[in-house]
Each structure stands twice: as C-alpha cells, then as structure tokens.
C-alpha cells in the first residue's frame, strides 16, 4: 500500500509540476484567508503571511531564521547620541511591482516611507481612514503614535524619524509587518481614480513576489518580481491554496496537491514524519505560555505563596499531555532563542512536599482559588482546559482547591486584564519583533498593569532594569540588564512559566531553502523546488 501511495503521490506531484512545464510553481497550503493585502490595519499572522511577507519590504528586515535586524530598503542607519533621532539612508534603484493595474514611473524613495508611516500616524492624513473601518492596530499597539514625534524627509534618499523618548527597540519595530513600505505613487493613482480601497485588494510593493490574483477563500496567486532588488526568486509562481482544516492540509500534502503546509494537527505529526517524501522541520517558537497570579490580591501578593504554588506544578506531565511532545518547559518569561535569555537561572523544582511546607510557613491553609482557562487554541497553549485540569490536580496535592473558569475569548482577554480580577490566568504571548522588551515590558512592566500585565505586577527593581535597558542603544549594554531582570522575575515569581511550544512545518522533499521563522511568519523568498 505504501509503495502504491508513494507512486500516486509522485504522479500527482508530477502532474502539478509537469503541466506548469516552463514555470516553477510552489504551492503552499495556507491555514486561512487573509483579511486584506495592506498589512498595516491588521494583526493576524495569516494576513501577514499573504501580504507583508511576499509582497512588501521594510526599511529593516529580520535576518531569515533569526530575530536579528539587517538592512532592508534602508541600506544603513544612524542613531543620534541622545537616542531620539534615527536617520535611514535608503537603498537606491529599488523597483516597485509592475502589474496590469499599475506601472511605476520611478524607483522607491523617501516619499514612499513618509506615505507608509504618516497615513498611520496623522489623524488628518487623507489615507488615515481610506476604507470604512480602517484602523492601525499594530501601530497603535506598539505605542507608535506617542513615540514618533515627526518623520522628516531629509532628501530623496534619506529619512529621519524623530522620537519623543529614546526607544532601543525602534529599529526592530520598523522590521515589523505594519512597517511594510507602500508605494506613494500607486496610492496617488488610486486616490485620483477614487478607488482608494483598492490599496487593500490589489497591492503594490517592492517585495520578492508580486500579487496576481486572489480568489476569495480559495487561492492567492503571486509571481516572482523580475526586478527584485535582491535578485529574482528561484521559483516563478507562488500559490497559496487556502485549506482551513489541518487534517485536510496533511492529506493534500501527502497527495501532492501542495508542497508546504503550516500548523499540522499534533495528532498528524508522527504520521507525516514517517511518510515517504515528506520532511517535517521543527523549531522552537518565539513564545511563552504562563499562569499569571494576581499579585495584588491576598495571598498571592506574597512571593513565597507564588513560589510554593509554582513548585506544585508538574510541568513534565503538562508537556506530555497538552503539548504531546511539541513543547519545552519554560523557566524564564522569554524563550531560549531570544537574545539575553538567562540560561543560568534554575527552574523551581517540582516538589509537592516542599511546596506544602512553604505554604504552611506562609500561613496559608485551606486556600481555594480560580484558574482561568482560555477557550481557544493558541500556539503557546494548544489546550488550556486540559492544562488547567492538570494544574488543578497538582494543586489539590498540596491542599489547594481550584475552580476552573472560562469564557468567550474577547471577554476573557478583557476581564483577565482587570486589576481586581479573581484568580490566576492561563495566557501566553508570541513575540512581535524579537526584542526582549516586547516580552518583559509588555507583559511584566508597570505600564501594563490593568492591561497586558495579567499578573498586575509592578516591581520597582524589575521596572528600573527594563526601563534602563530600553534607553541603551547598544545591544551589548542591554543584555546584562535583561539577564538581571530575569533573576528578579524568578525570585518574585509573578507567573508560573509553563512552556515554549515547538512549531512544525511539514513539506515535500523537493522543496529546498525553506527557513523557519522564529517570529512565526512564513516566507518563500529563497525557496526552490526541484523539478
């Protein structure tokens, strides 16, 4: 049977490739439909995979496979002494896509940069609300409106960002999806034609692939950008075959109907690994799943109690039952692939006896508490309900009674933010820009109390370390500060750090050059397929 299956797969694959005879086509079974093709108004990875990644470039890019920043459409940049001015020197000779709906008359220049950011920054910009309901969630979420004072065109090939306060992660922020560079010339053409909303449906960028067509909820077609500044891609056509169900994606991959698929169901991974002609790549995701106590409420305001509870959790059992081998135990609030990860820190041991003793010492007895379990599956927590049940059993061992609560996702996010929230919350985070600040300040900083800081934890020592790190412009100076902050975190234990998940990417053997992105994106530049 296996042989027969292999033969079939080979024939099917051959028919996919062969009919395209001249053109090399790579088919990616994507997991959902993009919301639009202008990445800036959106926050979903599925939308970014279909828009910012293939179609656009940014001033700064992440070096593929890392969260390190490298020059993109800016060849170089200088930072002023006070950390308030970032001057970008733009790359000359960069061509925008030429399609049946737009033919560029000029190369990329400072006007495009200004257009890209000013439309998000300025409330009165004609493109600020170019289609009904457009809003700039990522730009706002990263506090850009309060951070950026002005964006100045120094000359055609030089742009200066003036900030209100020093911000070390600024360069990494500009490598994010919302900072994808749009064509000001194309925008002007659309504005004149009175078809501004087309910007979100027929995109023009400078990226490795140009947009060809989107058949809603079915397929997205791209063609290699012949004049790409970094060289034409090895493949000619890129197709996203939208396939929502993970089991169906796995079937399509095995039948040769696509070459690469994301997010396999945990139950399918073993089967795919052992299938002929399929390789499963894996990488630790840039994420963390945690249980956040409410550190402003008794008895969780006592670090000793939090520490004791952390020691009652059997992480290995969670990794086995919830992650089924696709996760690693977490000891720090940032993942091990991130720079400044402090590997010298020792995790709290699993020791119910010691935990019980510590609770007694802290004068806590007959404790009953709530644990919030998310209603959705997330990369950092594939099954929060199951995780909550395991923790419930662990806590029962040390005499703590747990009630599990859950609610609709939007409600969960809102109510878990409240300072007077009752109980500990299961949640997690996936990094945006690979900067430790994006974890430590967002999730544990004092500004996040009542918001993204679910532990409602504001620790003076920790806060001064991360604030200090934020204004240092050299990475070398920032590392020791973040390492120290992780020590404080571990001592104070506002969370039980649970796991970093592993991400899997199954693909057929003929695909080469695919590099997994620690930030969770899917990129196809540099990818080739053997004929």
């Amino acid at each position: 049977m296996l042989k027969y299956g292999k033969l079939l797969a080979a024939t099917a694959l051959f028919s996919v490739v062969a009919t395209g005879a001249m053109a090399k086509t790579l088919v990616y079974c994507s997991e959902g439909s993009p919301e639009g093709f202008d990445p800036a108004p959106y926050t979903a990875g599925t939308t970014f995979d279909a828009s910012s990644k293939p179609i656009y470039n940014r001033l700064v890019e992440f070096k593929r496979g890392t969260s390190e920043t490298i020059p993109g459409l800016a060849e170089s940049w200088d930072v002023s002494e006070d950390g308030l001015e970032y001057t970008f020197h733009l790359r000359p000779g960069v061509k925008f896509h030429s399609t049946d709906y737009f033919t560029p008359t000029r190369d990329f220049n400072a006007d495009d940069v200004l257009f890209t950011f000013n439309r998000q920054l300025q409330d009165d910009h004609p493109w600020h609300e170019y289609a009904a309901g457009i809003s700039w969630e990522y730009f706002n979420g990263m506090s850009m409106p309060s951070l950026i004072k002005d964006i100045v065109k120094v000359d055609d090939m030089t742009v200066k960002f003036v900030l209100n306060r020093p911000e070390a992660p600024m360069v990494a922020n500009l490598a994010m999806d919302f900072a994808s560079i749009m064509s000001a010339e194309y925008a002007a053409q659309l504005e004149e034609a009175g078809a501004m909303e087309q910007l979100n449906q027929q995109p023009i960028g400078t990226g490795p692939f140009k947009f060809v067509a989107y058949q809603q909820d079915a397929a997205i077609r791209y063609a290699a950008h012949a004049d790409y500044w970094n060289g034409k891609q090895p493949i000619d056509d890129l197709v996203f075959a939208i396939t929502i169900d993970p089991a169906v994606r796995a079937q399509k991959l095995q039948a040769g109907e696509c070459h690469v698929m994301p997010y396999p169901a945990p139950a399918d991974i073993e089967g795919l690994k052992s299938a002929d002609g399929i390789t499963v790549m894996e990488q630790q995701g840039l994420n963390v799943g945690y249980l956040a106590y409410n550190t402003q409420q008794e008895p969780f305001d006592n670090p000793k109690v939090r520490k004791a509870l952390n020691m009652a959790i059997n992480k290995q059992a969670i990794l086995d039952a919830v992650f089924q081998g696709s996760g690693d135990a977490a000891k720090n609030p940032i993942p091990p692939t991130m720079w400044s990860y402090n590997d010298a820190i020792e995790d709290d041991p699993y020791d119910p006896e010691a935990s019980k003793a510590m609770l007694d010492e802290a004068g806590v007895s007959d404790l009953s508490m709530k644990i919030w379990a998310m209603p959705v599956q997330r990369p950092y927590n594939p099954n929060a309900r199951r995780m909550a049940e395991l923790i419930q059993a662990d806590f029962a061992e040390v005499g703590v009674d747990v009630e599990i609560v859950s609610m609709e996702w939007g409600e969960y996010l809102a109510r878990s933010s409240a300072v007077d929230r009752d109980g500990a919350v299961l949640l997690g985070w996936t990094g945006d820009n690979g900067d430790p600040d994006n974890f430590l300040a967002v999730l544990l900083g004092c500004d996040g109390v009542g918001g993204s800081n679910r532990a409602q934890w504001c620790n003076e020592e920790f806060e001064s370390l991360i604030q200090d790190a934020k204004v240092q412009s050299s990475q070398a100076d920032r590392i020791p500060l973040y390492e120290e902050a992780q020590v404080v975190f571990k001592r104070e234990a506002p969370w039980a750090t649970i796991a970093h998940s592993v991400v899997f990417m199954p693909m057929v053997d003929s695909v080469s050059g695919y590099i997994m992105d620690p930030l969770g994106g899917h990129w196809f530049d540099g990818v080739d397929i053997a004929e």
Partner: protein
C-alpha cells in the same frame, strides 16, 4: 392562483422583520466584542477602544443601531465587513455561486438516487433491498458531516487517490470568474482538462452534502409511495389491466411526489446548514465558511447582512416550493 401567491408573499413581510431582529440580536447576544478581538492578547487602552466604538457606531443605543441597519438593508446597503473592510453584498455575491453550485449538485445527487431507491424499497416492501436501503438511509441521516467528509477524503483521496482532496479546481487552472459556477466557467475558459478537474473536485463534497437530503428523500419517497400504493385508484388502475410500470410511474408516483416536493423544499435549509461544515472540510470557498469566520470574529455587519441574505434565499425557495405545490396539488390553493 394569484391570490394564493400573494397571500404567501404577504407572509414574507413579518418573517423578514423577524429575521432582521434575530440577525441583529444574535451577534450581540453572543458574548465577545469585535473591537477587543481586533487587538488580541495585546489589548487596547480604553481611549482607543472608545474611539473605535465611535468609529464603528457601536457606542450608539441599540435601537438606533438597529434602525440604521434596517434602513441600510432597505437601500440595499448590507454594510462593510470589519475584518476585510469590503462590502458585505459584494463578498456574498462572490462566494455564493460556489455554495449554490455545490448545493445544486448535492440536491441532484440526492434526487437521482433517493427517489428511485425510495420507490423500489416501497415496491419491494420488507425485502432485503428495502431493509438495506432504509438501514443505509438511517445511517446516512445520522452521520456527522465532519467525520463523514474526512473519512471519504482519507479513503478516496488519500488511500485510493481517485479524487482530489479539496478545493474547487486544480490550481493549474486559472481563469476569470464569469458565472461563478466552476463547471460552467471551466467550459467557457476553453482550457483543456479544466472541466474534468472541476467535476472531480465536486464529487466528494457533493456526496457529503447530499447524504442527509438523500436519506430524507429516500425515506419520504418510500413512505409516500406505500401510502399511495394502497389507495383505491391504484387498485383500480391495476384492475383495469394497466402495465405495472404505468401504474407506478403515472398514477402512484405523481401523487406520491406531493409530500416529497415539500421535503425537498425543506432540505434547502438543511443544505445551507450542511454547507457550512462541508465547505470547511473541503476548503470550498462558499458562504458557509465565510459565515463561520465572521461569527468567530464577531464581524457584526457580515453576520447581520449574511444571515438576512441567506434567510431571504431560503424563504424564496420555500415560496417557490409552496407555489409549485399549489400547482401540483390544486386542493391546497382552495383551502
């Protein structure tokens, strides 16, 4: 007849109002907030939240929101999707042909197999054929669509490799959408093999979506036939020496079809519900998947507009069936 038609049509007005209320209320009764979902884990500060509420008009009292919504509907404005920022009616019209094509194939599949199976089961009442057919129909009726779909994919696409796994047509073919029906568009495109590809992609989803209507129609046909076969006029027809084929085909079947047609009309609603799951499994780009996505994103305008459009269509089909029923069975009109 005209009076009958208008009396039916008149009933549609209150039904339609009811639908707008339900469609409007339904998404708002569900816990969850489209604006908070936009932000995800990141969260949103209260000022920003208030500004967006105002931008979307969700800060206004419910009845004003409802009034604006109905006013829009009356002017043919179904709103703009919060997530894609596109016009709801436009999205519906792009996606609906895919659902319609699948539904048509599914209902044809159900009729072509269900009616003869029901007739033969009735004629051979109590036989092995009858028992097996009705047993199979009951099984088909109780089959969870999701499981059934995956099972067929694994068997026919995975193991046997006879059918494609999912989608509407092989990705090799690419042509503009003219009618939205892939079978027709593929013929119009003139690309070699496109039509065959479109048909082969239809096989499994048609079977999956058609299974429940098939089971219902087969059972309904059987019981209607059994009832009619016992009638005096059938006995008379037999007694006057008509060929059995004429007795069954002409006298019995025509009368037995009356309740069956009503059933078919009712199956349209079932097909719409089944389409949601079938489309999800087979990555079929129709309105089922569109509605599911929109409900989970709490995309109010799409859910409100989409529900009204779908409900309107179901009503239209039911009206047609009622009228058809009146034509076939004159007694109904005069009641």
């Amino acid at each position: 007849m005209l009076r009958f038609f208008f009396s039916k049509l008149f009933l549609i007005v209150p039904t339609f109002i009811g639908i707008t209320v339900v469609a409007f209320g339904f998404v708002r009764v569900l816990p969850g907030d489209p604006i908070l979902l936009l932000a995800g884990e990141r969260g949103m500060d209260p000022d920003r939240y208030a500004a967006l509420q105002q931008q979307f008009g969700y800060d206004q009292p419910m009845f004003i929101q409802y009034f604006n919504y109905v006013l829009g509907l009356l002017q043919g404005d179904f709103g703009t999707s919060i997530s894609t920022k596109r016009d709801v009616l436009g999205e519906f019209l792009t996606l609906f042909p895919a659902t319609l094509e699948l539904a048509i194939f599914a209902i044809i599949f159900a009729l072509v197999i269900g009616i003869p199976a029901g007739i033969f089961a009735a004629l051979k009442r109590g036989s092995v054929f009858d028992q097996v057919t009705m047993g199979a129909a009951l099984t088909g009726y109780s089959m969870p669509i999701f499981w059934w779909g995956l099972l067929l994919i694994i068997l026919f696409s995975g193991v046997l490799g006879w059918t494609p796994v999912s989608g509407r047509i092989s990705l090799l073919y690419f042509f503009p959408q003219v009618t939205g029906f892939m079978t027709i568009d593929s013929l119009l495109s003139g690309q070699k093999g496109a039509f065959q590809s479109a048909v082969s992609h239809l096989i499994l989803p048609t079977i999956v979506l058609g299974t429940i209507p098939l089971a219902v129609i087969a059972r309904q046909t059987r019981s209607a036939m059994l009832e009619v076969l016992g009638e005096d006029y059938v006995r008379t027809a037999r007694a006057k020496g008509l060929a059995p084929r004429r007795v069954v085909g002409l006298h019995a079947l025509r009368n037995a079809m009356i309740p069956v047609i009503t059933t078919i009309g009712l199956q349209v609603g079932v097909l719409m519900a089944g389409a949601i799951l079938t489309e999800t499994i087979f990555s079929w780009p129709g309105i089922g998947k569109w509605m599911v996505d929109s409900i989970s994103r709490r995309d109010y305008p799409v859910v409100q507009g989409g529900l009204v459009l779908i409900a309107g269509l179901v009503m239209l089909v039911n009206l047609t069936v009622d009228v058809l029923y009146g034509l076939i069975n004159p007694r109904i009109r005069h009641r």
